[in-house]
Symmetry: C2
Subunit: 188 residues, 2 copies
Amino acid sequence: MPEQIDARIQKSQAAIIKAGMQLLSKNSEASLSDIAREAGVGRTTLYRLYDTKEKLIKAIAIHCLDSFERATEQLESEAKSALHAFHLMFKAIFPLSAEMEFLMKLGDLEEGDPEVFAIYRRQANDIAELVKGAQAEGSMSKDIPIAWVVNLVEGLLYTAWLTNKEKPMKHDVLADLAFHTFCNGVAR
Amino acid sequence: MPEQIDARIQKSQAAIIKAGMQLLSKNSEASLSDIAREAGVGRTTLYRLYDTKEKLIKAIAIHCLDSFERATEQLESEAKSALHAFHLMFKAIFPLSAEMEFLMKLGDLEEGDPEVFAIYRRQANDIAELVKGAQAEGSMSKDIPIAWVVNLVEGLLYTAWLTNKEKPMKHDVLADLAFHTFCNGVAR
DNA sequence: TTTTTATGAAACATACTTGTATCATAAATA
DNA sequence: TATTTATGATACAAGTATGTTTCATAAAAA
């Protein structure tokens, strides 16, 4: 089933998602008029494609989560070890700073749309599996709760995002810092 | 200069700040009517004490930053070492989860009120000094950018906040996890 | 090319939010 | 207790966001 979607719709959708991601990240009270203008699209078109503001936000959230998934899906096959997979993960995710910023600002997915939360949950579970793999291969401490390690990944992404905002730097440098901190902390 | 403030005003202010912190953390589009209702105060009173919504948000932000400052001001005199001070800091800040959540949701203080940003900046500098102290005493790596370590503190607070939201646990347990991760990471 | 479909402008209705003004009442000072 | 001051209910004005409908136009699809 090809289900060809009109080229105009695809173009409009892409522009709206992008503009919404940008504006709503900066100011979560941005209006749909603002977003339509930024997207170079009529307000009517926006309402035709996304019935309500809620649905638009949901669509953007799903787009962001999908971006993460696409960026990390080939990760396990490329990694030499479970621990190495975390390094690759940091490298893969840092270019998606716009998507990250949107999800950060959105906050508390648990209290939002259940479908969105389910996707988030599934991705968190994937990371949890990676943690278990690292524990199994002996490269990760078993004394630390798995949930903590999973959230630490998110916390280090946040750390990197803050650092990059103050003083922009190469994504790889941030990824190396995050991975090093993840493994060894900052003391000596 | 005693500058006695009417007891009614103090009570109203406290209730409004608390209610605003709670509601705006959950939903940054909460209206002043919502906040007044939650605070058990007339809408008129809210407008009399805080001219505009912007000023209310600013007042709450300053309250939150002040809370952090008060919680950590005696920290350096109590700590046995610069590294130990970080442990005490985590312990002191975790009880302030409501304040933390509000500032997280507010986001990007740099683009907000300059007075608020100045306070934040000063506190970040205090932490930077602590990092330098730890480097000087030889307990912290000098290969890692100071700004990264400062933001790591915030990132670990975020990690702890996420973990606690999923599965509430004693603040001290979280503080120990955060400090251990801060020092050693999670690998072995 | 012809047909179908998406677009954007305009006008419209509704509801909500901000912010102000008035005034009787209640509570804190003095 | 007498006086001052804060409060909250009500009403009001203005602005803005949301969401809908219509219709001529432009651009895809057939």
